[in-house]
């Protein structure tokens, strides 16, 4: 028995309509509930792991707004029913795996029975960053408990702080210069993403090392992994990592090109790709991997062996 993936769904901006982080997350969450045949009111915990928003809202947690938008237990429930607890978790592209680890534990404890992980990113200052591109995307994943499979069993997170300055992001105050009219602001905050040369190569190095450390801890090797599900953190990351690990291409879930650069949504996009390829159902051991700023590498082992 263990935590299993009930549904995983990713949406990207389509058409000319301007995407918002909340809109993408809401739409992905609704699609995910529909895919799983669940109602939003079923969810006990909703964690948003998205970071970048068009308005850079800092409070409340975006998760609370998403909870309201999808209508998940908004107020006092009937006697004997449950509420929903929502908050944001920030761990870059590894956020989804961190959230899976936390919700998996709470499912195991019986504190929650259905967990949702929602994410989205929209670049508030698109075009102003030289190296990094944030593709507007939203994703959602539902985690439940299944008595018949082993599910998520082990997690591993490793940081390489010597590379912490290779990818940094945040808001920088830009004061307005020159004559200012009475109704004009004194300035604005601009999102600055700073990516150093060589970051992509270091991501692959760190991901390889963390993967080998994780498998060693579990007494496994790559031959025991039936399906590698890597988040497409940066261009060509998946191929580089696959070669480093000596993993045949037919045992890797490739995310479609239009979902590359989807940042925090990446791990859900990778899981969705695994589901759609039909290989998730066949895989006994699936290794979900994400690598991002920090450098942080997060891994989760999902076993579909009978419990």
């Amino acid at each position: 028995m263990g935590t299993h993936i009930e549904a995983a769904c990713v949406l990207t901006r389509r058409g000319l309509r301007k995407a918002t982080a909340r809109g993408l997350a809401d739409a992905a969450a609704r699609a995910c509930f529909a895919q799983a045949g669940r109602q939003p009111g079923d969810v006990d915990m909703l964690i948003n792991v998205g970071i970048y928003r068009e308005d850079n809202m800092g409070e409340p947690a975006l998760a609370a707004l998403i909870q309201e938008d999808i209508g998940a237990n908004l107020g006092e429930p009937p006697v004997g029913a449950h509420g929903t607890f929502s908050f944001d978790l920030l761990n870059g592209t590894c956020g989804v795996i961190s959230a899976i680890q936390l919700e998996s534990g709470l499912l195991r404890s019986g504190v929650i029975r259905l967990g949702a992980i929602v994410t989205s990113d929209v670049d508030p200052d698109a075009g102003s960053h030289e190296a990094a591109v944030l593709r507007p995307a939203g994703g959602a994943m539902l985690l439940g408990w299944d008595d018949s499979i082993t599910g998520f069993t082990d997690f591993h997170t490793e940081t390489f702080p010597e590379y912490a300055d290779m990818y940094t992001s945040g808001l920088v105050w830009r004061g307005r210069r020159g004559i200012r009219f009475p109704q004009q602001g004194a300035g604005r905050h601009q999102l600055v993403i700073d990516e150093k040369p060589g970051y992509h190569a270091r991501l692959a190095d760190c991901a390889e090392e963390a993967t080998r450390n994780f498998l060693r801890r579990l007494g496994m090797d790559m031959a025991d992994v039936d399906l590698l599900v890597p988040a497409p953190s940066v261009p060509r990351f998946v191929d580089t990592l696959r070669e480093r690990l000596g993993m045949p291409g037919d045992r890797v879930a490739y995310t479609p090109e239009d979902l590359e650069g989807t940042h925090t949504t990446g791990p859900i996009a990778a899981v969705q790709a695994a589901v759609r390829s039909g290989r998730l159902g066949e895989a006994g051991n699936m290794l979900v991997l994400a690598a991002g700023a920090g450098i942080t590498v997060a891994l989760a082992l999902y076993r579909q062996t009978p419990a």
Binding site: A64, F85, Y167
Partner: protein, 369 residues
């Protein structure tokens, strides 16, 4: 890892309670703070508003002064300072910490007024030497630190880790300065921004053999009121601006808190009168008094003491509960065996409740330390 999963009865709160038969409990082992040295009185702040407001803020909120950062201080330095202070009161070394969660709403560091990646927790763990800890940031407005304790409690009671730290550094006084440039009257939605003060706080949570320590901890989000308090980056100066419908927020929260507190107290198997200290989120003395009256109306009793430290520190956002707990420990007002209730109330609306019994931790605070 396959374990037997215990089906728990349903509550409004997502609720954790080790129970009397549990072999693994979880306890608060130490608390630390970092308070900036510089003080700003309410009188001084209100004398510097751009418009004549006629607001008697001190009389309205009970806040006489708050701490504000000096040169070189920011969210990160406050968080790291609090983490070091926490370790100085702890029996643990930094290398014992297996998970470190940073919960700052404000995440200023270096040139960034709000840092996103890498998470601040990475820098904090490097600063204190907790190099092997798994780190992540979470954001849950003023309920952040207690949310972190909630998550660590589960990891610890399941035996996944033995020791974790929650830390937060809030350089949030720039919201006051931004509000001071625009606020005109008592009815301004930025009024609550004038109550804010800077602080860092940290707490170490560890495994407690025998199930002692935290009796119950629970959370819920009243999302139908998610838009009552919103903060966005400012256009009048560095930092954010916060817009709050304070009266509605307090009215809703006070009504629902009593119901949720009844759930938590019931789960802990105690009465309200068994609680020695209630430490609520520090917003205004008036709101805390109204909340206490609601306790009496609903339960026919109130906790023996209700902690209010607004006069000295103001509302230090996500750190208020642990700044207050630390102060009472240092002043040796809280004693071994006392039962404490922490009540987080935050934009969302997030309501979190923890009830725990204080143990030998008190020996490491105060003049004897």
């Amino acid at each position: 890892m396959t374990e037997t999963r215990q089906e728990q009865s349903r509550h409004w709160l997502a609720l954790q309670s080790p129970g009397s038969d549990s072999s693994r409990g979880c306890r608060i082992e130490s608390v630390g703070v970092k308070l900036p040295a510089q003080r700003l009185t309410t009188r001084d702040l209100m004398s510097r508003t751009s418009h004549r407001t006629h607001i008697q803020l001190e009389r309205l909120t009970g806040i006489h002064e708050r701490r504000v950062v000096g040169p070189g201080e920011n969210s990160f330095t406050l968080a790291a300072g609090a983490a070091r202070d926490c370790l100085s009161h702890s029996q643990h070394r930094a290398s014992d910490i297996q998970m470190l969660i940073n919960t700052s709403i404000t995440r200023s560091k270096g040139r960034f007024s709000q840092s996103y990646e890498p998470p601040l927790s990475l820098y904090v763990k490097q600063a204190i030497g907790a190099t092997q800890a798994v780190n992540l940031d979470l954001s849950n407005a003023c309920a952040g630190m207690l949310t972190g304790v909630f998550l660590l409690q589960d990891l610890i009671t399941r035996g996944e880790i033995d020791c974790g730290m929650v830390v937060s550094g809030e350089y949030i006084s720039n919201l006051s300065w931004n509000a001071a440039k625009q606020i005109r009257s008592l009815f301004s939605k930025q009024l609550a921004s004038l109550t804010l003060g800077d602080a860092g706080a940290a707490v170490i949570v560890e495994r407690a053999p025998g199930g002692s320590g935290i009796d119950v901890i629970g959370f819920t989000t009243l999302a139908e009121h998610s838009r009552l308090c919103l903060a966005f980056p400012s256009t009048v100066g560095p930092g954010s601006q916060m817009y709050t419908k304070s009266r509605t927020l307090h009215r809703v929260a006070i009504g629902d808190v009593a119901v949720l507190a009844a759930e938590a107290i019931g789960q802990a198997g105690i009465d309200v009168a068994d609680i020695d200290y209630l430490i609520p989120h520090q917003t205004s003395a008036r709101a805390i008094r109204a909340g206490s009256k609601e306790f009496v109306r609903r339960f026919g009793a109130r906790p023996k003491h209700v902690v209010v430290n607004l006069e000295e520190y103001g509302n230090t956002s996500s750190t208020t509960l642990f700044v207050a707990l630390h102060k009472y420990l240092e002043e040796q007002r809280i004693r071994k065996g006392d039962r404490v209730m922490l009540l987080a109330l935050a934009s969302g609306i997030e309501i979190g409740i923890a009830i725990f019994t204080v143990d030998s931790m008190v020996d490491r605070y105060g003049n004897t330390h």
